[in-house]
């Protein structure tokens, strides 16, 4: 009797494992299909904003800025910018008045070296929170920076999906 009981128990374990595996595969299939379903719901936003930033502090070659933005998505902006000789790169976080944040990487290139210098560059939307939690996109910007006060005016255009 005991060997038969063991065999039955073994068959039961194997069957259970197979069922569990099939369930797992099914669940995986559903799971992998989820992003495409989500992607179908993604919204696209073409935004054009102008931001006015002022210096909050310096840390060696890094400057920190804060300000307000107006345009398609009004709100506030914070930035951490690493100043190099021929380029400035950093992270810019946009806090929308309507909720949610968008964080983007920015790389800008100065076009002059006078007190008020012009610059232009590219942005890549890296992440977001709230309604922008799956935000992706890219764009360009241009503006001016006062190198004495580090007051910055920047106009950005970007295409965003979220």
């Amino acid at each position: 009797m005991q060997p038969q009981s063991l065999r039955r128990r073994g068959i039961f374990v194997v069957t259970a494992a197979l069922v569990a595996l099939m369930l797992a595969l099914w669940a995986g299939g559903v799971s992998s299909a989820a992003p495409s379903a989500h992607a179908a719901k993604r919204k696209t936003l073409n935004l054009t904003d102008t931001a006015y930033l002022h210096l909050t502090r310096k840390n060696g070659n890094v400057i920190y800025e804060k300000g307000t933005a107006s345009g398609t998505l009004p709100g506030t902006v914070t930035a951490r910018l690493v100043t190099g000789v021929t380029k400035v790169s950093g992270t810019v976080t946009f806090h929308s008045s309507g909720g949610g944040t968008i964080t983007m990487n920015a790389v800008g290139y100065p076009q002059s070296a006078s007190t008020v210098t012009r610059f232009s560059g590219n942005i890549a939307v890296r992440k977001g929170t709230g309604r922008f939690r799956n935000a992706l996109g890219s764009g360009t910007f241009s503006g001016t920076a006062n190198r004495k006060t580090w007051a910055i005016t920047v106009r950005a255009t970007a295409r965003l999906t979220y």
Partner: protein, 279 residues
Amino acid sequence: MRTDSRRGAVRAALIALCAAGALAAAIGPASAAGPVRLSAAFDSDAALGSATALEVTLQLDPRRLTHAPLNEVRFAYPRSLGIVSSGLGLAICTRPETDFIKVLIAGPRLGGCSPNAVMALGTALALVELTNGQVIPEYATVTLMLGPLERGRQGLVVFVDGTRPFGAKLAFAGDVRDVRAPYGGELVVRMPAVPGLEDLATVSLVELRISIGSHAIRYYERRNGRRVAYHPDGVQLPIACPARGFRFRVRIGFSDGSRQSATAVTPCPPTVAAPASGL
């Protein structure tokens, strides 16, 4: 014709000095270290997170270096040091390209450029060796100014004003470049031979002291219609010290193709004192 007259003037000055017996005497003993030595220091009261002047001293021992004249100096500074984020170089000094070919120029102080373009002030000592073997020390002041941004490179203009005995004014071009970590940028100054002087003398740089963001720098701005002088913020220090201190490097090129280099490490200044709360 102008070249001949300039060469004549240089020759006359050299002969006059030789006749007066103005020979080298003020040069100190040779260093026990390498032929090129570099040191860099911040203000004595500098603190992390604040702006400071950066004093750079370059010393060369001509007896242990090639006899060929120096033609390029490259000075690299640490990545975390805020040169671009400083308040230095708010105007651009633009000089005609021919100035950097002639090198020996005539012109007003700062070459007619705005004082707001000055980034560093300093002094230099060179040995002028005449063809007859006599050596004359020449003292000069050095002014480093921001030049135009061209082809993606940030230009520099350097004026060397001889103070005694020759009193010549030299103009050199340079630029600031991005370089690999641990350095953040490199000041490059190209120093071609002075046309007309090659056959008369060999000039060897012995010492260069330069203060980036020097306290002697004065900028001017308009406030309520009045021209007001102020001292611009110097080099911006980070709030945290880089590992193993602030590392600097100098690389020097000579006209025979040989190169020399030296490095320096500047220890960390103290951290910023906490502001008094008044509570």
